[in-house]
Amino acid sequence: MDGERDGSRPSGEPDERPRVHFRDYEHVLRMAGLFAFAIVLFLVWRAWAVPPDFGRYGHFRPGAITDAADRTPKYAGHELCIECHSDVEQARQGGGHAKIGCEACHGPLGRHARAETDQAPVRPSTRGVCVTCHTAGEGKPKSFPQVVLREHASAGPCTECHQAHKPGLT
């Protein structure tokens, strides 16, 4: 059978060379070695690159949760404000502004609240901060106090007539 296929060897003549299945097997070994090396290299790189706790909660790095939490708030929060400014908290009780966070009008004052800066907070301009909410506009609930600025009393600051922390005419 072999002889018939191989033209160089006439049939009937005995093959004296030893039968070798993988005659040039060194090539294959070299190739396998190369593959093995690449796989080992990949595994080493992977072990180095992937954090050991990856996948603890899902397909992500749990350290990212800590990263997201690890920032300092810029808005101090109402509770921290009234620790010192309890007088203002008292003054505004019962008024329409009693439940508003201080920083809604005064802006982010986290650094001031944590005493990280000596700079005194800037008093908000009433024309800017009051008008933001109380200017008349479509879409605001009917019960919400609104004014048409052009028709409203004076051109001065709102605090001439109104008390900012407990609104209503003074």
Partner: protein, 254 residues
């Protein structure tokens, strides 16, 4: 140094055994990643938000507070939260006019003429912190995920900025941060809520239209609110498990 075969084998064996043991021990050391805050347990919370459309006045305080708190770029298109103004003609409910100039950052300009039968209302929007987020499903590198306390976060050190998540979000809540070219979105002020504070947008909202809620806390007033109000999430047909509940949401809102 002269060494016989026995002592060589013994030393090698010890070395291998000890390295193995040390590496296992080290793995345990590393696995003990502390939770976000000393008194904060990830499994004790399930965060969401309630938004009351009826009390929103469209002042834009939440948008400004969010940008200030989270260093969001001031340019157009970069918003972690924004406010939309809807104008719905009662004769044509299917085609509402929606505007959101600079996301509501500067408030809303007065409407010239709305006509007799047009209703106007504001819809504050933010990441819905879906329990089954499409954005998380498409991320090819594990850079975005749902944390065990129900907040969808982005791992900026893993994000490759491929924008799949930006396209996948049905609510349009993501954008590419032009400074880092990575995906950015609302974190529900994760650095605040893990410290016991409310989010910056809720802190700054003058009418209490936005409320941070913890659905795992049985004492949270949200349970009472949801029980007594007709609340709705955006695009429920997408089955995203959205956790931003709107009270008084009009059917015209997309």
């Amino acid at each position: 140094m002269i060494e016989d075969r026995r002592s060589f084998l013994r030393d090698t064996g010890r070395f291998l055994l000890l390295t193995g043991a040390a590496s296992i021990a080290w793995e345990h050391v590393l696995a003990g990643t502390p939770d976000a805050s000393p008194n904060y347990a990830l499994t004790d919370h399930w965060w969401g938000m309630v938004i009351d459309i009826d009390t929103c006045i469209g002042c834009g305080n939440c948008v400004r507070a969010c940008k200030a708190e989270n260093d969001v770029p001031l340019e157009e298109g970069a918003f972690r939260t924004w406010v939309e103004r809807y104008q719905v003609d009662t004769n044509d409910l299917d085609h509402p006019r929606v505007d959101s100039p600079n996301g509501g950052y500067d408030g809303f300009p007065e409407l010239r003429s709305t006509g007799e039968n047009v209703k106007v209302f504001f819809v504050p929007k933010l990441c819905n912190h879906c329990a089954h987020s499409p954005c998380v499903q498409v991320c090819p590198v594990g850079a975005t995920f749902e944390s065990p306390d129900g907040v969808v976060l982005v791992d900026k050190s893993y994000c490759i900025g491929c924008r799949y998540c930006v396209q996948a979000c049905p609510y349009g809540c993501r954008f590419i941060d032009p400074r880092t070219m990575t995906a950015d979105k609302c974190t529900l002020c994760y650095h605040r809520i893990t410290k016991g504070l409310t989010t910056a947008c809720c802190e700054a909202c003058p009418t209490g239209a936005r409320q941070l809620v913890d659905l795992k806390n049985p004492k949270d007033p949200v349970h009472e609110f949801i029980r007594t109000h007709a609340v709705h999430v955006l695009k429920p047909q997408m089955a995203t498990g959205a956790k931003v509940y709107y009270n008084g949401l009009d059917g015209a809102v997309r």
